[in-house]
Amino acid sequence: MATNLPDSAIPNPLTRTDLAAIRSALSTQLATRLESRRGETPVRREVLVCAGGACVSCHADSVAQALRDEVAGAGLQDAVRVVEVGCMGLCDAGPLALVVPDGVYYPMLDPEKVQRVVSEHLAGNTPVADLELAWETPEGKLLHSREVPFFARQQKIALRNCGVIDPASLEEYVAADGYRALEKVLFDLEATEVLDALKRSGLRGRGGAGFPAGLKWQFVREAAGDVKYVVCNADEGDPGAFMDRSILEGDPLSVIEAMTIAGRVIGSRQGYIYVRAEYPLAIERLEGAIENAWRCGLLGPDILGSGHTFEVEIRIGAGAFVCGEETALMRSIEGQRGTPRPRPPFPAQCGLWNRPTLLNNVETWANVPPILLRGADWYAGIGTQRSKGTKVFALAGAVRNTGLVEVPMGVSLAEVVEEIGGGMRSGLPFKAAQSGGPSGGCIPASAADTPIDYESLQELGAIMGSGGLIVMDSSTCMVELARFFLEFVVDESCGKCPPCRIGTRVMLNTLEEITAGRGRLEDLDLLESMAAHIKGTALCGLGQTGPNPVLSTLRHFREEYEAHVVDRRCPAGQCKALLTYSISEELCNGCGLCAKACPSDAISGTIKHVHSVNQELCIHCGSCLTACPTGALVGH
């Protein structure tokens, strides 16, 4: 990835004067990336290409290369610069690029479209209307690029630099107000003032539990001992959550700066970032950022001449969900099996290698520099009474615009799903949203007007969690969903405490009986009482919250459970054992694959003719459904 200045131009180590010089040289240009100025011919254009994880996997790198080649071919290399930036959020539209200062988004780029963008827009100064990102409102009005609700309704604090700066460029980070908060902490503020600002801002831990961040910092600062550690929890294991990955990929230095600040405040010289092994791109960009910071003296001894020494190391996880739990995470860093231990003592007193340890999640860290820079009152002015600031959600599932969104606390689920998310992709009705992953619960469509904050989600039986928001339409079976999450918990249970190891297994067996059509009405009571026992007795957060998906679906969709056990029917048409299979005469091409797949010879027909299912012989295994290549086989 390109940097603005050649390596040799960066003095080593940087001084405060150097930082100021970088800012004054680059910040004006950087500011144009946030503008939407159309109809004029700028002296210099930039094409920002999203290089977030999702876009990279649909070959954004070759799109960026094609753009560079075309720009050079058109002789525009002095007037147009192609920059690869972090995640822009609209993952569904990848590969995605933004032309600035015009503010025009081009989704789903391919070599042919790239050619047109270069010749018509970059050379000809006319945005390519038919390729530009557009969105039709329910009233029939056509909105373009930044006016599209997906972008217009967001407020970015944690994601402020994602999709704007080149994550590999330290200069761009500095120019985007980077390291100004650290300078303030090193030279202008007392540690107690920093703690006070954090407390007044109302920032709560974004990893799930929502513990006030300022208070946690204070506990670690006040803990006895001269060796303390700072840890970033980037073990984002909740299926359906990818906000931490995007921050690490798009703005790794913000996390490193925040950890350096914490080091100064609590008196620590060593930080660790614990990242999932499943995120190779995030690891690569973090490594690059740490190396850059080292090279410029922003990590290491005597940072900016302040006398503050701080180092950061990466520790790579090895695929254990329970390691997202803080005590398990620390054991994993120590090289042990990642099993949790009872608290107290809390990590603030006795953490990594039994030393006081400050542990925060990626998104929490990313919020720290803006709070210190723009003030606690500014941050506390956003959000609701008890949940301040913004929250990043990973929007996925049946919704049309999947991707990453950051909204103020207190917006309603309906706004996120219908307006930002653009409603259901399938056109089926919105049924529920699942928040908080395997520890969370479902919010039914009937409660979609509830403002999203820590307290109101808890009242609904869900949790904020890390911010994974899986949207479901009416084709999702809630019993099957509960079974899916419980299977996850059973798989990931570390086995240390019996309530989690045995209890969740019993619950899973019960749910499997229900989805297989062998459930009884009293099973529902069994599930509820088991859930209560497990929640009350399990050792760590994984077990204590594991039954939540079952409890919340039982609470909001009990009639669906009853349909499974009483009527032996799956209303969503998902549970194979409860379906009746038939073959559509229009769609069947007579290939015979279904008959071949059927283990009970229930499907008959001659090749190239429409086949049929004998219901008497059918054992409801669903093999034919998988085998059918044309979608002719349907289950009701």
Partner: protein
Amino acid sequence: MSERTGVEERQRTTGELPGFFGTQEPLPADEIRPEVWDLIDQWVAAHPGGRERLIPLLHRVQEEIGYLPFPVQEYVAQQLALSPIEVYGVVSFYHFFTTNPRGRYQLKVCMGTACFVRQGQRVLEAIESLLAIGIGDVTEDRLFSLEQVRCIGACGLAPAMMVNDEVHGHLTATEVRKLVRKLRARARRESAASAEEEASGDEPA
């Protein structure tokens, strides 16, 4: 580290295990490339420290040979002054570590929530029936191995799977069939190319 004992030396050369894993099915010694022992030695020498080195070292070794056979685990234990059971305890705890060889193409089907909601199960079933292997298995020709993983964070592309480090999104049973066919063709092309290279004796000196 003190001088290598006779037992260690035998292990390095034969992969044979005298100790803790002796009752386990032994793996053919020639499957473990001799460079691995040196890699472990060098890594340990370059990273002074204690037990916290275990997981990074296992990552490094698995990156090199694709899995963690028992002789290697025991060698790691010796070099880090741990007991083999401590190493095995860590290897078996973390999903990422495996004691089975993997295929040339590791298919990791995402079973995260977003993929679940978008019919990821169908993708998995399609692969299982196509390759006639289950989760955790490898095909006889060692071309494909199948795993299910928990959320690769490509939820925007659901249902998704990884082939080695490459993410493939928006999958259907038909797409999966196409992809497998493509990978098979690629493997054939590559082995044909390397066979040709060998035959022509054109290998770089």
